[in-house]
Amino acid sequence: MSEGLISETNIFVDLDVKDFAELIQQIAQPLIDEQDVVQEFPLQVIKREENFPTGLPTEPIGVAIPHTDAKYVHRNRVTIATLKNPIKMEVMGGMDDSLIDVSIVFLLALGQSNKQLNILKKLMGILPEAELLERIKKGTREEIYQIAIKEIEL
C-alpha cells in the first residue's frame, strides 16, 4: 500500500514566526504527535541547519528544505509551511555566507536515503517554476494540498 507523504495537518499557511527555530518547533509538532518522528527531531533539524544550511535562492520566492538524518524518522512525511513574513536563512552550500529571505518551507521527514533522493528530485522539478511557487505562497491549506498531490506528486 502506498502511503501518502502529506496530509492537511502537515500544511501551515501564513505562519507568523520570528525565526527558523520557532518555525521548526511549531511545524514539527504534528509529526511528533503522530509519532512520525522522534521527540528530538526538531532539535536535530535545527542543529543540522546550522552546519548544512538548506536555503535555496529560488525566484521570486526563497524556499528552504530543512531535514535531518533518517534515524530520527519513523514514517515518511513532508510538511509544507508558508510564512507571513520571510525569515532569513543561509544558502545551501553557504559559499559566501549570504542570507536570503525564505517564505516557503518544505520540512522533510524521510526515513530512507533513496526516499530522500526521490523527494528531492520531485522538489527540484518545481523549484524553477516561479508561477507554481507564487501559487503555493498564496494558497490556502486545501490549495497547497492539491498542488502537493497533483503537481509535486508527493
Binding site: L56, P57, T58, M95, S113, Q116, L117, K121, M124
Partner: protein, 95 residues
C-alpha cells in the same frame, strides 16, 4: 585520458546523487563520455579529492584543496543551471 569528477554534499547521499545525474546527463549530451565520477560527504572530501580533476559541491567545503571546486547549488534550484553545467564542461575540457 578520462577525467575524474567528484560530487560532494553534506552526507554524500541524496543531494550529490541528484546533482550527479544532472551533470552526467549533460556531459553525455555534449558527447563527453570519458568522465568517471564518485560521490562523497564533505567530511571525507580531503581523503577523496586527490584523484579528482574537478569537484562539484552543494555544501561549503571548509578546507583548502588543490582541486578546483564549482558550486552546484544552481543544479538544485534550476536558477542559472545552464551556466554551471557549461562551466563544468569547460573546466573538464580545458585541462
Amino acid at each position: 585520458m578520462g577525467k575524474n569528477l567528484l560530487f560532494v554534499c553534506a552526507t554524500g547521499i541524496a543531494t550529490s546523487t541528484a546533482v550527479t545525474e544532472k551533470v552526467m546527463e549533460f556531459l553525455k549530451e555534449k558527447e563527453m563520455t570519458d568522465v568517471n565520477y564518485s560521490q562523497t560527504n564533505v567530511a571525507s572530501v580531503q581523503q577523496n579529492s586527490d584523484e579528482a580533476d574537478l569537484i562539484v559541491s552543494t555544501t561549503k567545503i571548509p578546507y583548502d584543496l588543490e582541486t578546483p571546486v564549482i558550486n552546484g547549488l544552481a543544479l538544485i534550484t534550476g536558477v542559472g543551471e545552464e551556466k554551471v553545467l557549461n562551466a563544468i564542461y569547460e573546466q573538464l575540457k580545458g585541462e
